[in-house]
């Protein structure tokens, strides 16, 4: 049974996780993701599942480590500063090959920053916030519906690769209510013969760890991990392309920012400006090939982020010197406006200008790489 309901992003992620068969949730309070923790506190015990409010984000991610080691579908959620604390645990999850879902409802930083929406945790999410040479699939939903759907998918993908998966949202996505259809779902749960705990009944002991002091073993593990990461690159990338075929300028944005860019694209098209949109749904794996392909025809790219520019580095790696890459970002909780983005597009496509313009008394700074 499914019906459309008005749900807050944080609640929708919680409900989707429950329907995906999440057995254990461990959390610690931090705004703007608190509703997710509260949702799990209310609903997990009702279903006989595990909810613990941990003493810290560090404890929470390590409870995830233990539960996942025992075969559970386990998750935790937090925001920027708390996700920083979890980085050690995320690295250990990868090293011990444990599946898990980590949700980051990103807020303004650095430091304690604020509780406004932000996309400044892109590097941390995609480039390995923890130590060691690792990757994980990072989903960047743009709507509450997509947040719910990708939460469900994330558990399957985590189990498939025995690797953590990160859901990267922002305060808007977490706090916003939108109509969403929470669909019924039959969890696709693989057997986990590697898990510890329970009656062994004759099987050999299992070991969950990420340490070996024997020569060459950890290098061997890393080659094995690479094979998994390569498989993720081949199989798990998701990207949305809109109006790219005839575009003179392509907007590149993910998550909440992509919603704003989509509206800008429509307004620009209404003015006769041929603008397209490429929206990475997975920011890792990043859609390098798709962007490279679009750069064969389109000469102008405008990357928009709620940061000082992080994803733009991946866009540069995709497009290289085949097109001009412009950037507009708002850091520290600022939200790019449709008007500012549209104005930059006009400057680029109509007036053929680059750099910084001052309009309405405010500076719209954009850079060209």
């Amino acid at each position: 049974m499914s019906e459309r309901v008005l749900l807050r992003g944080n609640d929708a992620i919680g409900e989707a996780a429950i329907r995906a068969g999440c057995d254990c949730y461990f959390g610690y309070p931090i705004t703007p993701q608190n509703e997710l923790t509260a949702y799990m506190a209310r609903h997990m015990p009702e279903l006989g599942r595990i909810f613990i409010q941990a003493e810290s984000e560090i404890a929470a991610i390590n409870m995830v480590y233990g539960a996942s080691a025992a075969g559970a579908r386990a998750m935790t959620s937090s925001s920027g500063p708390g996700i920083s604390l979890k980085q050690e645990g995320i690295s250990f999850l990868v090293g011990a090959e444990l599946p898990a879902l980590i949700v980051n409802i990103c807020r303004g930083g650095p430091g304690l920053g604020n509780i406004a929406p932000s996309q400044a945790d892109y590097f941390q999410a995609c480039k390995g916030g923890g130590h060691g040479d690792y990757r994980m699939v990072v989903y960047a939903p743009a709507t509450v519906q997509e947040a719910a759907d990708l939460t469900v998918k994330a558990f399957d993908v985590a189990d498939r690769y025995r690797n953590p998966v990160l859901l990267l949202g922002d305060a808007i996505l977490g706090q916003m209510m939108e109509p969403v259809e929470i669909r019924p779902y039959a969890p696709n749960r693989p057997e986990k013969p590697w898990a510890v705990g329970g009656k062994r009944q004759g099987r050999a002991p299992n070991l969950i760890n990420s340490l070996s002091l024997e020569e060459g073993v950890v290098e061997e593990w890393n080659w094995k991990f690479k094979a998994k990461f390569d498989a993720m690159r081949r199989e798990e990338g998701m990207v949305e392309k809109v109006n790219t075929e005839d575009a003179d300028l392509i907007l590149v944005a993910y998550g909440t920012t992509s919603r704003i860019c989509r509206a800008v694209m429509k307004r620009a098209r209404a003015q006769g400006l041929k603008v397209g949109l490429v929206r990475p749904v997975t920011v890792w794996p990043f859609p390098y090939a798709v962007l490279r392909e679009t750069a064969r025809k389109t000469r102008e790219f405008l990357v928009v982020e709620m940061s000082l520019g992080q994803m733009i580095e991946d866009v540069k790696l995709s497009v290289l010197d085949h097109a001009a890459i412009h950037f507009h970002g708002r850091p520290g909780g600022g939200i790019p406006t449709e008007g500012d983005i549209l104005e930059i597009i006009e400057h680029v496509l109509v007036r053929r200008r680059t750099g910084t313009v001052t309009t309405r008394g405010s500076v719209i700074d954009w850079t060209i790489s």
Binding site: I115, A171, Q175, M177, E178, T256, E338
Partner: protein
């Protein structure tokens, strides 16, 4: 259509519930809609506000800094948010809670004795429904019946016994203008 609305007042005045009811109504009418509350530390100090967008197109950002429909339920919010209203927009004022007139001449003020209307039926805490009735009547964002249906459907179990009175207050607010 693309209505960008903001509701503001004291915590306890049902600010968030009037916003989410409008959003639910929009959803049931098959429209695109978002609801975005002030959250976290922004709620400290007893004030509450939220923004709602009801549109026939996809909603970009749910954040609204210049609403074309502003609803202020108390004087603090009146003072704070008067300047936020977009030129040409509506400004609904709960005139039971402030006697101040709207000072701008580029917005359309609507004064509603929301708290009085609610108190006549039963409880001042239903002023939000009186105001929403007036908003629906004046702006025509959504049909009266759609909101009423949404109200019945989304009413939390713990206040089900107050549903009939809320419907009455909503109707009275609608009829008052």
């Amino acid at each position: 259509m693309n209505h960008r609305c903001m509701f503001a007042g004291f915590g306890g005045q049902g600010i968030l519930s009037m916003g989410s009811l409008l959003a639910s109504s929009g959803m049931m009418a098959g429209l695109h809609t978002t609801f975005y509350p002030a959250y976290g530390i922004a709620m400290r100090g007893g004030n509450a506000n939220c923004t709602v967008i009801v549109s026939d197109d996809e909603v970009a950002s749910p954040v609204v800094s210049h609403p074309d429909l502003m609803v202020v339920m108390n004087e603090t919010s009146f003072d704070f948010f008067q300047s936020w209203t977009a030129p040409g927009g509506w400004m609904f004022v709960n005139s039971s809670m402030t006697e101040k007139p709207v000072e701008r001449n580029d917005v359309r003020p609507v004064y509603v004795q929301a708290t009085r209307i609610a108190t006549e039926v039963g409880d001042s805490r239903m002023a939000n429904m009186a105001m929403l009735g007036a908003v629906i009547k004046v702006t025509g964002i959504l049909p009266f019946d759609t909101v009423l249906t949404a109200m019945v459907k989304t009413c939390p179990a713990k206040i089900l016994h107050l549903l009939e009175k809320n419907k009455q207050v909503f109707a009275n607010g609608y009829a008052a203008l």
